[in-house]
């Protein structure tokens, strides 16, 4: 048997000196910092400066102009309309998301993948087309146009049209967050709950919902951000009636096209704050989900 080698202190000292790390499995510091600086420059040009410019432009003419821009009647009615649309759209899509995710993840049936593809469709469709299809259905020359006119009902160029177009555009957001989450969680907990005598609804409320609450919230804030910020689809169906069918993004467009830049950026800054809050909540949820 070989006894452990004994070395005197002197050599051991000199050895420890020579053992400073002379190679690395990671990239060199030059590569690392080059890549970091490239990334930061790119993000500065494309994300940080645009975001910053919104606030600078909004406050260019001072605080008072800013307040005036966002409290004038047309701006207030645009804010109100945007909120109404979100309040209608988000819960409807949330309910759909929960129901559809339940059907898709808790049962196996033929054509499931096709159904998921259909649900994804609105992601792949231009918002302008999303608006167009509702014009084709409910507009003056559309399929139901005549009938609607006779009954004095207005969908296009009115709130219902804006809601429908927004529903379409934000359709997949919540269900898309829930499906992978619920798939991962499987069905054993639900089966256990049912076997212990709970009803389907009780099982959903007490077992499923607590498990997916963060995913649901995540989907809801993403859906909300898009619902409030949608431009193309809403632009097609709204008719741009000031103080009536203008949402905030449309109001910004009008102000901008009328060269009222400060006012346009003031309203835009409100929407940017919404975006920043959305990102913060999203990160909080991610952090929460990771640490639960």
């Amino acid at each position: 048997m070989i006894a452990p080698l004994k070395i005197n202190k002197e050599t051991s000292m000199s050895m420890s000196h020579s053992s400073t790390k002379s190679y690395s499995l990671q990239e060199s510091a030059i590569t690392k910092w080059t890549l970091i600086i490239i990334s930061l420059l790119f993000l500065l040009l494309f994300l940080i400066l645009p975001l910053l410019s919104i606030f600078v432009m909004a406050f260019e003419k001072g605080w008072e102009t800013y307040i005036a821009s966002i409290t004038e009647p047309d701006a207030l009615s645009a804010i109100k309309l945007t909120l109404i649309v979100a309040i209608i759209v988000v819960p409807l899509n949330a309910i759909f998301g929960l129901v559809a995710a339940w059907a898709i993840t808790k049962f196996s049936f033929k054509g499931k993948n096709f159904l998921i593809t259909l649900i994804d469709l609105p992601f792949a469709i231009s918002p302008v087309i999303a608006g167009l299809i509702f014009i084709l259905l409910f507009g003056a020359g559309g399929y139901f146009g005549e009938w609607l006119l006779q009954h004095n009902l207005k969908i296009v160029f009115a709130l219902p049209g804006i809601v429908l177009a927004t529903l379409f555009v934000t359709f997949p957001f919540i269900v898309r967050e829930l499906i992978p989450l619920m798939q991962m969680q499987g069905i054993t907990e639900e089966e256990a709950s049912i076997s212990l005598g709970a009803s389907g609804l009780k099982t959903f409320l007490l077992v499923t919902l607590p498990n997916i609450k963060w995913g649901l919230l995540y989907g809801v804030i993403l859906c909300n951000a898009r619902a409030m910020g949608e431009f193309g689809a809403v632009s097609v169906v709204s008719g741009h009636i000031r103080g009536m069918t203008n949402t905030m993004p449309l109001h910004i467009e009008i102000l901008y096209n009328e060269y009222q830049f400060t006012a346009a950026f003031a309203v835009a800054s409100l929407m940017s704050i919404l975006a920043i809050v959305t990102i913060i909540i999203k990160n909080l949820i991610e952090w929460k989900a990771k640490n639960v």
Binding site: M1, I2, A3, P4, L5, K6, I7, S12, M15, S16, S18, S19, K21, S22, Y23, L25
Partner: protein, 356 residues
């Protein structure tokens, strides 16, 4: 290739993973690094492979200082715990990888690579799966691919990190036997990390028992099992019964039990005797003070061995004894019977032994 590990230390922040480790390994040995998790065994293995830098000390391969040599130049074959196969490459490409990435000057021609890989694949009995992807293989097959991949570069040293950890019991046994066979054929110096004492005893021809970044004992499987140097090794290798008592004049006293201990003199208030279950003798009548009464709590027959769980009448402590089936048949005991147990080989450790 022989390996000298000289006074190696390594810390991660405030955690001392390795503390002044020195080991000499001869060419062609098959070594097990055995220890609980956090004992530093994997860190030592990774340092040998160059995947981890060391804070102090020197590593020599065949006398040459390779402490600061990049892993790609160490000619070390490393088999990862979770195999680390390249999942976008077929089995063939995985094994060929080490040859294909060589600089053009030393890279073998394509035909030679193909020949070599096919040889290795037939060695690990995977020649029919050459075109499969790792995801299409079972755990045991993946492990064999990882081994073939490591062997392809003709390493001077083969390092295996918990090579059988993720496999089920049957496959594990098979691969163990196979690793030993492979080693007998190739004679490449091999070191494997394990926390499974049975695995270490079964495969290695020398075992290094590690704990808390230090070496507890180095020796052949028989040595470390039969003559553990300290309480840790005793505890870690195999089951053991403890007799905590007072040591006085060469006698360990605990409850009504009094055992002669010749090797140790002097008095200690807290000494601990260690006895393996198969070294506990069961008798039906009491002949002297070196036995103590115990009630049989449970009898468990596993093949040729009978495990008997007992509860001491005096202290209420539980003991485990192992006897052969033959002996058990002669003894005629039943659950609930009171018998007398005699520790045949008591190894006593005094407090100083624990404080290492």
């Amino acid at each position: 290739m022989s390996i000298q590990i000289q006074q190696v230390s390594k810390s991660f922040g405030t955690f001392h993973a390795l503390n002044d480790i020195s080991i000499d390994i001869e060419s062609g040995e098959l070594i097990a690094l055995l220890g609980p998790s956090g004992s530093g065994k994997t860190t030592l293995l990774r340092i040998l492979a160059g995947l981890e830098s060391l804070d102090e000390g020197v590593i020599r391969f065949d006398g040459q200082n390779i402490t600061n040599v990049h892993p790609k130049e160490r000619q070390v074959g490393f088999v990862f715990q979770h195999y680390a196969l390249f999942r976008h490459m077929t089995v063939f490409d995985n094994v060929a990888y080490g040859l294909k990435v060589r600089p053009r000057k030393t890279r073998p021609p394509k035909a030679e690579i193909t020949k070599k890989v096919n040889e290795l694949l037939s060695l690990v009995k995977l020649e029919n799966l050459a075109n499969r992807y790792p995801s299409q293989l079972s755990g045991g097959q993946r492990q064999r691919v990882a081994l073939a991949r490591a062997l392809a570069v003709e390493p001077k040293v083969l390092l295996l990190d918990e090579p059988f950890g993720a496999l089920d019991a049957k496959v594990r046994k098979e691969l163990r036997r196979w690793l030993r066979k492979l080693h007998n054929e190739f004679h490449v110096t091999s070191i494997f990390v394990t926390h499974d004492q049975e695995e270490a005893l079964d495969v290695a021809n020398r075992i290094i028992v590690m704990n808390n970044g230090k070496i507890e004992q180095i020796g052949s499987p028989e040595e470390v099992y039969e003559h553990p140097k300290n309480p840790f090794v005793y505890n870690f290798l195999g089951n053991v019964n403890l007799f905590k008592g007072r040591l006085h004049n060469g006698k360990l006293t605990q409850g009504q039990l009094e055992v002669n201990v010749e090797s140790l003199h002097g008095s200690y208030e807290e000494a601990v005797g260690y006895v393996r279950p198969h070294e506990i003798h069961i008798e039906k009548v009491q002949v002297d003070n070196e036995t103590v009464g115990a009630k049989i709590v449970h009898i468990h027959v596993v093949g040729p061995i009978v495990q008997i769980e007992l509860r001491r009448e005096d202290t209420g402590e539980y003991l485990e004894a192992e006897i052969t089936k033959e002996h058990y048949k002669k003894l005629i005991v039943n659950k609930g019977d009171v018998v007398f147990i005699r520790p045949k080989q008591l190894k006593v450790f005094i407090p100083e032994d624990f404080s290492i």
